[in-house]
């Protein structure tokens, strides 16, 4: 069963004091950095390009290509910014990674910064996860101490400073330009593009912004080679990734596997849907990705496969819901989240989420009309692709996809004059068979 897993990033998670430098080094840690420092910087970029690594933050943009956009003739300093503002509902891969093996990230930052000729890198961590911030800060301090960071790293002449920055609790700051605004000390709202961050990002200087998992994957690519990485995964979605299963499975967990694995396989690894229940719907990559149903258990979980099913791979945050869950209720909760987190900059997202929440609330209470479903879809149509950044788009995904697959269930609320589900039955503490 475990032969389908490819633990690379998660390989050390079970080690004693896995977050310590000594542990990391004892397992070959920072070897890739030493190797990289002996390489030509462009060769590192080429290796990452050849590996086929695509951004692990959700959008799947080829990482090596992103690096090659940095204009090296620009006299301004170059920056690497790591987006560790993991806030998407359901997504929990970067935070456990930084908690368990922060040095994987730090080594990745060092190699990546070296490749793009940045002497300063920032790790922007979601502000709520104080324990993780401390772990990464401690890891950075250890790395300085050991000479993996700072001046003239391992005699290579290369200098790198890492700043660990704590966010202030806004989902929008996971959007890369809003993150840059926040990092510069401003109000976290997305910036107008162009200019793109590669040209004028942090402090109007060329900037690469990558997800934690993308950067943490770099050391393994350098250590084992691009071919090794590309040997995993599917044709256009190479390598491995962390799949986070949460919700109604027996063993919610992170599973690191090649891209292209199916949910059927992952649920199997997680011990199946919780006993006595069956899969109803799931999100492939967090709440911003259109939800899917049991009909999609066998689609390959890679960028193309999920896209072909009308959703997005996103962050591989697989939230599993069984038949006890009211989809209207789940969607309303997500929509409330987006309403709360809308930064307010653009009209469709700011006003749209305000209205969507009200319409959904009425539907959940059974007070709406069948026409409200069309109203919801029309509102979504007026938000999707009309808002300033992707947050607005994300807010519409659960609504339009849930109506697509569960229109009858919405209508049942109207017929029932309220939610026909027992809200307690879906809880983790629900007693088997009992009607709470």
């Amino acid at each position: 069963m475990t032969d389908v897993l490819t633990p690379v990033l998660t390989d050390d998670w079970d080690a004693a004091q896995s977050w310590k430098l000594a542990t990391y080094e004892s397992r070959g840690g920072y070897g890739a950095l030493k190797k990289a420092l002996g390489m030509n910087q462009d060769d590192i970029i080429t290796a990452v390009k050849d590996s086929g690594l695509r951004g692990r933050g959700g959008a799947g943009f080829p990482t090596g290509m992103k690096w090659s956009f940095i204009p090296q003739d620009n006299p301004k300093p170059k920056y690497l910014v790591v987006n560790a503002d993991e806030s998407e509902p359901g997504t929990c891969k970067d935070i456990p990674l930084m908690m368990a093996t922060p040095h994987t990230l730090v080594e990745g930052v060092a190699i990546s910064s070296y490749a793009i000729r940045a002497n300063k890198a920032f790790i922007y961590i979601r502000g709520e996860v104080l324990h993780v911030i401390r772990r990464v800060q401690a890891a950075v301090a250890e790395a300085y101490e050991a000479g993996h960071l700072g001046k003239n790293i391992h005699g290579s002449g290369y200098d790198l400073d890492i700043v660990v920055h704590a966010g202030a609790g806004a989902y929008i700051c996971g959007e890369e330009t809003a993150l840059l605004e926040g990092l510069e000390g401003r109000r976290g709202q997305p910036r107008l593009r162009p200019p793109f961050p590669a040209v004028a990002g942090l402090y109007a200087s060329p900037t690469v912004i990558n997800n934690v998992e993308s950067i943490a994957s770099v050391p393994s690519i350098i250590a084992h080679g691009a071919e090794w990485f590309a040997s995993m995964g599917t044709e256009k979605s190479k390598g491995y990734g962390i799949f986070s299963l949460s919700g109604h499975v027996a063993n919610p967990c992170q599973y690191e596997a090649p891209l292209g694995i199916t949910l059927r396989k992952l649920i199997e690894l997680a011990g199946g849907i919780r006993a006595g229940h069956e899969l109803k719907f799931w999100t492939p990559g967090g709440s911003s990705t259109p939800l899917l149903t049991a009909d999609h258990l066998d689609i390959p979980l890679d960028f193309e496969g999920v896209s072909g099913a009308g959703s997005m791979l996103g962050t591989r945050a697989l939230q599993i819901f069984d038949e006890t869950t009211c989809v209207v209720r789940a969607v309303l909760r997500w929509t409330e989240f987006y309403k709360h987190e809308s930064c307010g900059k653009c009209t469709p997202c700011r006003e749209g989420t305000w209205w969507l929440t009200q319409t959904l609330t009425r539907l959940e209470k059974g007070q709406g009309t069948p026409g409200d479903l069309d109203l919801l879809l029309d509102q979504c149509e007026n938000i999707l692709g009309r808002s300033f950044c992707a947050l607005g788009d994300g807010a519409t995904s659960p609504i339009s996809s849930s109506i697509q697959y569960f229109r009858e269930e919405y209508l049942a609320h109207l017929e029932h004059g309220g939610c026909p589900f027992d809200p307690l039955a879906s809880t983790a503490f629900a007693i088997e068979g009992a009607n709470a």
Partner: protein, 812 residues
């Protein structure tokens, strides 16, 4: 060559099936205007950087110019055109139309339906575009939607109110404050639907330009405290006019109803003020309808000695008799508020009716030489300059490589110049240097560099600039000198020499709207209309011929301060005084005993809008029309002719020209014109002097006075908002006056044993005043204090700029 260059910078796009060529980098939203398609918009403003926030201007781009289209509608306010781009707006694209309708619907869900009581109702971009690009029915209301509400309104500044629930957070106001005014004291706070415009606790939006945010607000969220609930736009009559509070010549729009001005707005003039005006230009218009407005002529009763109402003919007769009795021992102080037409009438009245050169528009300190150097400077260098005739313009400021300021603080003294300098600095990095004692906030906002100069030492400082490689003036540079240099011997001469040696261009920026027109029309003892030097016999003959009089006197005239001295000494028998605030010309904050006695003895004719100390002492008082009540022309600092029509019809007062004509005719020496229109026609007919201009001989420059040990030199000027009478009546505006402080350098503060915030006593030749002390970028040995803060008038209670003063600590 040039034509070809222009051609290659053109980009051809197809909008709604119509091909149009526009300059590269034009935004799609403006390219569409070229073919007559108005894409609805809120956050977009042509003078602000694109934001893309409101999403109202979405259009469909089936081809971005590269053969591929955008899959989603694009904001046309942030998208530059590209060669071959195809754009379909709401006019032709159902996708764009639906996108716009959708955004409009979203904008309205949280917007209150209070249009019937909203100031903006009737002139509201949201209202208008909801009609043109929205739906008639609200699906939100139909489905029982609940709007977000806020307590309302809140003050962002004393004169600016915010109704948060009306706000669509387009960020025009915050972007204006940040980009244009440089006063980023308003910002977005909170998020989502709760996002709103806010100020930091206790830090109000104190900007000299705050009122512009009200005007550019596309909804009724920002309202004027003074105008709120006063009127409906469709009840107003709008008249184009020119701002009358400074020499900038800003275009304004006067909105009035039934003979009463309700508000003033910025006009749109890209050559002058673009779309911005100062708060003073916007809000300070109430003073002319206060109770002290003069409504009928008055003469002093020979029996009671009191002023009594008189008919116009009687007042003309009394005035003429008084002048006849005074012979030529008459002085004329027309002041700086005059239109060019009225100034011309004063000038001609002095020469033809009174037959004197004792006329001076300058109602301000003139220095030890009684303004002789400045008068010579004006005659030789300033008069007859105009845009197109080599004079410096706003456009020149925008493209200048460097701008040197001397005796001028633009934010306080010429707000439109300040905004242009800021624009230039932000766009091209043009450097601004200031010869001043103080590095002001205004200077910081143009990223300016202070050349610290003790008051009185400006001449030497100007001379030193020639060898200052950092300033490096050249023919693309501009030197702006303010009227305050008049009191510094040799300073204007040094400015002329600096301009000559570096090739930089030189312009003079006075403070009052009528100042430059008064120069052009000869309201100076040494200058006749059209720049004719009094000293030039040929010029006098030329003018006498044009006027049809025997001769124009060549006798030396007295300047403003000399006229008052002569009155005091009994050397003059009569005074004709116009828009002069006695507080400005008389050193001790009013009329001192000796002068009061002299004025009582002399025959005084006062032409005033509102009663003043002069009208109280006058023998004949004529109510004259303020700028709103007459047609006229202001000539701004550039020399640009800024004509404006009569806005209000108040028959109780007349233009100065009509009053002076009445007296002159009664005296039997007519000035030949009675109306502003006739006066302008004659100004044109008399024309500019084509003969030799007056020369400018550099006076012997005196050494700057050295303060005694323990003394400081006082730097001081009038701030934009102060105790000026023109600002009377608007308590909101006056509440936004900057609190007076005594400003010193950190070193001076320490040497005096003071700490910032201490209350100190500022003592000078006229007396003493208590002020809090603050630290700033101030030249060593100097203390700055505002000349005319309400209730703390340094110029009357302490002394004029340049005085030796002391600063003594007190309590906190």
């Amino acid at each position: 060559m040039t034509a070809e260059l222009v051609k290659t910078n053109q980009v051809t796009v197809t909008i709604d099936g119509i091909q149009v060529s526009v300059p590269a980098d034009t935004l799609v939203i403006r390219a569409a205007e070229e073919i007559g398609v108005q894409i609805p918009r809120f956050c977009d403003h042509p003078l602000l950087a694109p934001a893309g926030a409101c999403r109202q201007c979405l259009v469909d781009i089936p081809d971005a110019g590269n053969g591929r289209g955008f899959p989603k509608p694009q904001a046309s306010c942030t998208l530059p055109v590209a060669e071959g781009m195809v754009v379909n707006t709401q006019a032709t694209s159902p996708v764009a139309d639906k996108a716009q309708q959708g955004v409009m619907e979203f904008l309205l869900i949280n917007h209150p339906l209070d249009c019937p009581v909203c100031d903006k109702g009737g002139e509201c971009p949201l209202q208008n575009q909801a009609m043109s690009n929205g739906q008639g029915e609200s699906r939100f209301a139909e489905s029982g939607g609940v709007k977000r509400v806020f307590p309302k309104p809140i003050n962002l500044a004393p004169q600016v109110l915010l109704d948060r629930e009306r706000c669509i957070v387009c960020q025009r106001c915050t972007r204006f404050a940040d980009e244009i005014a440089g006063d980023p004291f308003i910002a977005l706070v909170e998020r989502g639907a709760q996002q709103q415009i806010g100020i930091a606790e206790g830090v109000e939006f104190l900007s000299y330009f705050s009122g512009n945010t009200i005007q550019i607000c596309p909804v009724g969220a920002l309202t004027s405290a003074a105008y709120r609930f006063r009127s409906r736009p469709f009840d107003l009559v709008s008249s184009a006019s020119i701002a009358d509070h400074d020499a900038c010549g800003s275009a304004i729009r006067v909105d009035h109803r039934r003979g009463k001005v309700m508000r003033r707005m910025a006009g749109d003039d890209r050559d002058v003020n673009e779309e911005w005006i100062t708060d003073k230009d916007r809000f300070a218009f109430v003073s002319t309808r206060l109770d002290d407005r003069l409504t009928h002529p008055q003469v002093r009763d020979t029996e009671t000695g009191e002023l009594r109402a008189a008919s116009w003919p009687e007042a003309f007769a009394v005035a003429a008799r008084g002048l006849a009795a005074a012979k030529k021992k008459v002085g004329l102080l027309p002041g700086g508020r005059l239109t060019a037409e009225d100034a011309y009438a004063w000038s001609k009245f002095a020469r033809v009716t009174v037959r004197t050169n004792n006329i001076d528009f300058r109602a301000r300190p003139l220095g030890a030489d009684h303004g002789a150097e400045e008068a010579a400077f004006l005659a030789s260098t300033v008069v007859l300059g105009a845009p197109g005739a080599g004079a410096v313009t706003y456009a020149d400021l925008e493209t200048a490589s460097a701008v040197l300021l001397a005796g001028l603080e633009p934010e306080d003294e010429a707000g439109t110049i300040f905004l242009r300098l800021r624009k230039a600095n932000r766009a091209t990095g043009a450097r601004v240097f200031a010869i001043s004692a103080v590095g002001t906030r205004g200077l910081a906002k143009v990223d300016g560099t202070l050349l610290p100069t003790v008051p009185g030492a400006e001449a030497a400082a100007l001379a030193a600039v020639a060898s200052n490689s950092d300033v490096a003036l050249d023919s693309h540079s501009v030197i702006l000198v303010g009227e305050r240099l008049a009191v510094v011997p040799g300073a204007l001469a040094a400015a002329v020499e600096l301009a000559r040696s570096t090739g930089a261009r030189l312009a003079w920026v006075p403070r009052r709207a009528g100042d430059r027109g008064a120069v052009e029309t000869g309201c100076l003892p040494t200058l006749l209309p059209g720049g004719r030097p009094v000293a030039d016999a040929m010029a006098r003959v030329d003018l006498a011929e044009a006027w049809g009089v025997d001769a124009v006197t060549g006798k030396d005239g007295l300047s403003g301060s000399q006229i008052l001295d002569a009155l005091r000494d009994g050397d003059l028998n009569a005074l004709v005084v116009g828009g002069v605030d006695p507080a400005d010309v008389l050193p001790s904050g009013g009329v001192d005993k000796k002068l009061r006695k002299a004025l009582k003895k002399a025959f005084v004719i006062s032409l005033e809008v509102r009663s003043s100390e002069f009208t109280e002492l006058a023998d004949v008082v004529f109510p004259v029309a303020p700028a709103s009540d007459k047609a006229g022309t202001f000539i701004n600092w550039e020399g640009r002719v800024r004509s404006f029509p009569k806005v209000l019809d108040h028959p109780s007062s007349l233009p100065d020209v009509r009053v002076l004509a009445g007296i002159a005719e009664e005296r039997g020496r007519s000035i030949g014109v009675r109306t502003p229109e006739q006066a302008w026609a004659e100004i044109v007919k008399v024309g500019p002097w084509s003969g030799e201009r007056a020369g400018f001989e550099a006076p012997a420059s005196a050494a700057a006075p050295q303060p005694a040990a323990g003394q400081l030199v006082l730097a001081s000027w009038k701030q934009l908002l102060d105790d000026g009478r023109g600002q009377d009546g608007d308590e909101h505006l006056r509440a936004s006056v900057r609190p007076p402080v005594a400003l010193v350098s950190a070193g001076t503060l320490t040497s005096l044993g003071l700490t910032a915030g201490d209350e100190v006593e500022l003592a000078g030749p006229l007396g003493r005043l208590r002020l809090p002390v603050a630290v700033g970028e101030v030249a060593e040995g100097v203390v700055w204090a505002p000349a005319s803060a309400p209730g703390a008038s340094v110029r009357h209670q302490v002394g004029p700029a340049g005085s030796a003063v002391t600063l003594v600590g007190g309590t906190k």
